[in-house]
């Protein structure tokens, strides 16, 4: 059984945001809207600082809280574990936006829920998502979580640390953060300043 998943090696992420731009052009996301966002964390006092960039997008959870709350069945999970929204069925009621414990969904200007699709149209053609392909440092890996030889399994196996965000939600996210400098939750404790609605959260 295929279970698509992604990993991001935070040791390699430079915060260049090329993935955000690649996602927007690949998926024709409207200006002013974003499927990916960056969280910048800085801890300490000058000159003793530690920092990290963390890209965030839909985690394609295995126990997705967004799926059962959808009244029309617009939000669904494919057999390969990709969580998608059918715009034709979506009424824009925002139940899924509220249910997502990670705040990864938004209402598009066309009135339906939008979010990262793991570029399933590319995956169907045996290509990796646009964010993975464009990453200049190779921080991202994608593939089948059930296949030990897949790039994502290899990346996780080689990492010093691997974790998902807020595992206590029980949602079982399938985006793995590798080699984080901070313990899970530290980043969330930072005072966050939302610069634009989805794209950037600064220290």
């Amino acid at each position: 059984m295929t279970r698509y998943a992604m990993s991001i090696d935070l040791d390699r992420c430079l915060g260049c945001q090329a993935c955000i731009v690649a996602c927007k052009t690949e998926n024709e996301v409207a200006l002013g809207y974003f499927r990916l966002r960056m969280r910048t964390t800085v801890v300490g006092t000058f000159p003793n600082l530690q920092g990290e960039f963390r890209m965030e997008q839909c985690f394609h959870c295995e126990n997705s809280p967004c799926v059962p709350v959808c009244p029309t069945g617009a939000t669904y999970r494919t057999a390969e574990g990709i969580v998608l929204v059918d715009p034709a069925k979506c009424t824009g009621c925002k139940a899924c936006v509220t249910a997502c414990p990670y705040n990864m969904r938004y209402i598009s200007p066309d009135g339906y829920t939008d979010k990262c699709t793991f570029c399933e149209h590319r995956v169907a053609e045996q290509r990796v998502p646009a964010c993975v392909e464009t990453c200049p440092t190779g921080a991202r890996a994608f593939g089948d979580l059930d296949n030990p030889a897949s790039p994502v399994r290899q990346a996780i196996a080689q990492a010093r640390r691997s974790e998902v965000l807020k595992p206590e939600t029980g949602a079982r996210p399938k985006l793995f953060y590798l080699n984080s400098r901070f313990t899970n939750g530290d980043a969330e404790d930072q005072p966050a300043m939302v610069v634009s609605e989805m794209a950037r959260i600064d220290e």
Binding site: F46, P47, L49, A199
Partner: protein, 323 residues
Amino acid sequence: MITGKPYPIKGLIAYGTNLFHTLPNVPRTKEALKNLDFVMAVDTLPQDHVAWADVVLPEATYLERYDEFAVIGHKTPFISLREPAVEPYAQTKPAWWIVRELGIRLGLEDFFQWKTAEEYLNRRLSSLGTNLEKMRGEGGVIVQKGKAWLEDFEKENSSPFATESGKVELYSAALEKSKSKPLPEYEAPTEPPAGYFRLIYGRSPVHTFSRTTNTPLLSELYPENEVWINAEVAAQLGFKNGAYVYLENQDKARSGPIKVKATQRIRKDAVFMVHGFGHDAPGLKRANKRGASDAALQTRYALDPISGGAGLRVNFVRLVRDA
């Protein structure tokens, strides 16, 4: 251009270079431009200096034109091709066309023994025994075998370093001969006056120089620059994160409004801003008047006595609340 010495300069062609953001001391650049009889600008965007030109020749963007080959002589040398993906927008023209047409009109047609960019590029490629069609087939890049390591040079009994010793020279005999300091000597920089901060500048990863701040996809990621100031200093002075201030330098040059970013990521005696903002160009609809320009605050610069390189981090600014 200002003094007319050693000889007078009467005309200038600015090609793809924003004169008011690339160079420090903007008032002096403007004074120099006023002394010219003729200014021509070739650009893809209505940049700040373009409004100062007598003649503007709008250029096609990089996705709409052929350009000269990029010939890269690194450890693995390569030649890469730029070719149009789409037709040029409206009346814009590629640079090769602009130069050739100007040349012909000036009676210099002998220097342009080709009619199209393809013809010109093919003639250059013929020296390698290849052509554009083959190059496209190889993905638009011709990779050549380089000398990657010092051993590759040593095998030929040569050196990659153009020094007398054939080595990397920490102590330069050539500089000593020319009566310059053979070893760099540390000179302490001038400290900022009380109440002022050293103005340092750098890049945002999403922008390239001052030329992408009007690009929709990049503008929405980083629409305006901020003045970074040490969080403790900002608290002492009462400057809040996100508040707009003006920057005034030691020569009373004043910037437009810029947001305060109080952060631990900077030392206490300096402020930082991302280069390339604070455009004064109404044609740049997204970038016009967004953020502040570091170049406008760099009324002073220091020249390296050996290389002539300009050091621009020698200006001091203070944060001012009111315009």
